[in-house]
């Protein structure tokens, strides 16, 4: 199979998933409550309700309403978010960059720390570094992320303050008391570079440390474990033995011959970790008062704000599907065996 055919087939396979995702969010949003509540207040007279129902197509059969729902989504008419007091699309535009920035920082941290840890663990198998790494990774998988975030906050914000050390901020994206910020793209690191504002850049970076670390730790654990096992798998291959028997140094064997092949499964895991990062963002943002999608979604659910819940669930599912798609495509490019197999 050619690469082009593979891509087309993979894209076609994503279509039923997308339709299913839309159907599930539609059904769930109907279960939250009668959608008529979106258009009425407690002062709406009872007699007006059938009229409103008809006006918004709510008296039509469900499958027709599903098409209305799809049409509204396509037209960018995602409704009004009561919990954010503005349109859902505007809310997403405002909050999405915050979450993505946090997730990216977490991901970069996890990749930068996770891959070397995995390699270390594999090359020093069953020795002290391996055991230490394994404990770090297992703790990451078993740790409640919200608790980890709280403990970090306790240590680096409160205890450091008590001890008179330079402490890290407890939450928020920047110190709005000291630094002024006018949004351009809402990616604050990017904005601060665009406006050549080093103070804002460092302020934002400092605010990103704790949430980024808390959020990235789980991904770090997953990447480390995957890297270790795939590295061990690769190190058993014949070509590694050949490379060693040629008298190549260990460093060259590991980084030049083994690493590239061991990276293939790890790339998949990195892509799939995106879903985990979104989940973690919900919890981390709640603790660090991060003005992102996660915090908004929690508030939306607690207030039964249907369009917001719907939009958030859809958005996350689409990001997840897209990440899976990209991973599969990269996988197919990296490893021809997948395409032909």
């Amino acid at each position: 199979m050619k690469l082009r055919d593979y891509i087309i087939r993979r894209l076609l396979l994503a279509i039923p998933v997308v339709i299913g995702v839309l159907a599930i969010t539609f059904v769930l949003s109907y279960m939250v409550g009668d959608p008529i509540t979106l258009y009425t207040t407690e002062r709406t007279p009872i007699e007006a309700i059938p009229g409103i129902r008809a006006e918004h197509g709510l008296n039509q059969p469900l499958y027709i309403q599903f098409f209305f729902y799809l049409r509204d989504l396509m037209m960018g008419n995602w409704g009004y978010s009561r919990s954010a007091r503005m349109d859902v699309t505007a809310t997403i535009a405002q909050r999405f960059p915050a979450t993505i920035e946090l997730a990216m920082v977490a991901l970069v941290f996890a990749v930068i720390a996770g891959i070397p840890l995995g390699i270390l663990s594999a090359t020093k198998k069953d020795r002290v570094p391996d055991h230490v790494t394994r404990v770090v990774a297992l703790a990451g998988v078993s740790m409640p992320i919200f608790w980890f975030a709280l403990i970090l906050k306790y240590l680096f914000f409160y205890q450091f303050y008590v001890w008179g050390l330079p402490f890290l901020p407890e939450g928020g994206r920047y110190s709005y008391e000291y630094v002024s910020y006018t949004p351009i793209t809402n990616f604050m690191l990017l904005d601060s570079i665009l406006t050549l504002n080093p103070v804002l850049f460092f302020d934002t970076a400092i605010h990103l440390i704790l949430p980024g670390f808390a959020l990235g730790y789980l991904t770090l654990a997953i990447i480390t474990r995957m890297m270790r096992s795939s590295m061990l798998e690769v190190l058993k291959e014949d070509y590694i033995t050949l490379a060693r028997s040629k008298g190549l140094r260990d460093r060259v064997v590991i980084y030049k011959h083994a690493l590239r092949n061991a990276m293939i499964p790890t790339v998949t895991v990195i892509g799939l970790a995106f879903g985990g990062l979104m989940t973690g963002a919900v919890l981390t943002e709640t603790i660090f008062s991060w003005p992102g999608l996660g915090r908004w979604s929690v508030r939306a659910i607690l207030q039964s704000d249907i369009p917001s819940i719907n939009a958030f669930t859809l958005l996350v599912a689409f990001i997840f599907v897209a990440a899976n798609l990209v991973v599969d495509l990269i996988y197919g490019t990296l490893d021809p065996r997948i395409r032909y197999g």
Binding site: I24, M31, I151, I301, V316
Partner: protein, 431 residues
């Protein structure tokens, strides 16, 4: 006392402080005796189950077993039908109230259970006695060996491998400790799960409160121990039901193939398109009320596709094997082949996955509880305790101990799951 009564009483100043209900619900001596007998019986049943049931030639067991498996559900369903009927017709008299029927049902259940216990004890004693007769012992042993021989050998080998991996042993021990804590919570905690002492709020660890108290004066140690019951119950219930549901759907999909398979797999694809916690959040929102039952339901909905996929894959491998062909050639029905021949051979990876998922479910349930979708305020539940303590994170003990409880519990499940997976993996075994 109504609200207004309370207020007027408060104004006139003769408000009586309500007597806190004794929170340590100690069991009566009778219940303890029954429980101990039950435990002994249970272990005896397990020990002797092979001999009695695999022998297959003691008809009484089958007869009694089927009697009780029919009788108990009949009573429960009949009771529920009466209740639903009464509710529908809006009848509410004492004679048909929950109280009296509940008591009646409990009485019947105790009678039946007692009968089962006694019969089981008698059977086991009989079996043990018969074991002293050499001929019968040899006969049973032959039957056992013929039926279970290879499997027993395999499990002995696995036990040997498990015994050699310290991490798995550590995990199993920690899980056992957690279960013991959950069972004996009433006896090892000085305070009840909802007991509050308003004069001792935010006490640091030490003294009478060994792990301190929270902002409402609840004893952290007692609450953490009590919460073990709730959290383990959620994790076990979710994993068990997701496992059964997912396994059967996946097995059917894998065995019958074709359109069924295609539809089921596309459905699981859709479920996999959502990260677990977020789909669970949406489902809890859709279910309306935010309580532990709805969390459990949401998590079951989220988790079944994992098992469906896993079992389907296994069944696809197994159904091509010769023993399935053999069973089919002697005329076994599809259901029989699937349930009695294929499913037992797919169980190992499912068990590993279930162990690993226990940790995942625990963490996700705690996360849901943390963002406010779980138990009502004041319940002793780990996630909720952390959630309520997050404003007071400066007083580390309020959040530290419940979090450690979650961490250790999830860690031990992960240790066991990981270790057992490595043991079961023949690729790793050969090394």
């Amino acid at each position: 006392m109504t609200q207004e009564d309370t207020w007027s009483a408060a104004i006139t100043g003769d408000l009586q402080t309500e007597e806190a209900p004794s929170s340590i619900t100690a069991f009566s001596g009778f219940q303890i005796v029954v429980a101990i007998i039950g435990m002994i019986t249970g272990s005896m049943v397990f020990i002797n189950a092979y001999h009695l049931f695999d022998g297959g030639d003691i008809p009484l067991v089958g007869v009694l077993g089927s009697f009780f498996t029919i009788a108990i559900p009949t009573i429960v369903i009949g009771f529920l039908l009466i209740r639903v009927g009464l509710d529908l017709r809006k009848l509410e008299t004492y004679a048909f109230s929950w109280v009296i029927y509940g008591n009646l049902l409990m009485g019947l259940m105790i009678l039946l259970a007692g009968a089962v216990f006694i019969l089981a004890i008698l059977f086991n004693l009989l079996a043990i006695a018969l074991l002293f007769v050499p001929a019968i012992k040899k006969y049973w042993w032959d039957l056992f060996k013929e039926d279970m021989g290879p499997r027993a050998k395999e499990s002995r080998y696995m036990l040997h491998l498990i015994r050699r991996s310290p991490l798995v042993i550590a995990g199993i021990l920690i899980i056992a400790v957690y279960i013991l804590l959950a069972v004996f919570a009433p006896y090892i905690t000085p305070y009840g799960p909802t007991e509050r002492n308003w004069y001792e709020t935010m006490r640091p660890p030490g003294g009478t409160h060994i792990w301190g108290t929270d902002q409402n004066g609840g004893d952290i140690y007692s609450m953490v121990i009590w919460a073990t019951q709730i959290d383990l119950k959620i994790a076990i219930a979710v994993v068990a039901i997701a496992l059964v549901l997912g396994s059967f759907i996946g097995a059917a999909a894998g065995y019958f193939g074709g359109a069924v398979d295609e539809v089921v797999m596309r459905i699981t694809d859709v479920f996999f398109a959502f990260p677990g916690l977020i789909l669970a959040m949406a489902i809890v929102a859709a279910l309306g009320e935010k309580n532990l039952d709805n969390i459990s339901i949401a998590l079951m909905v989220v988790w079944w596709p994992t098992y469906a996929r896993l079992v389907r894959g296994q069944v696809l491998i197994e159904r091509e094997k010769l023993y399935v062909e053999a069973a089919r050639s002697v005329g076994a029905s599809d259901v029989r082949i699937l349930v009695f021949h294929i499913l037992p051979n797919t169980i190992q990876p499912v068990i590993v996955q279930a162990t690993l998922d226990m940790g995942g479910v625990l963490l996700t349930a705690a996360g849901l509880s943390f963002i406010g979708f779980g138990a009502e305020a004041g319940t002793a539940e780990w996630g909720l305790m952390i959630s309520q303590g997050q404003q007071h994170f400066m007083n580390y003990w309020v959040t530290f101990y419940p979090g450690m409880a979650i961490l250790l519990c999830a860690l031990s499940f992960n240790l066991v799951g990981d270790g057992v997976r490595d043991i079961l993996d023949p690729k790793l075994r050969r090394r």
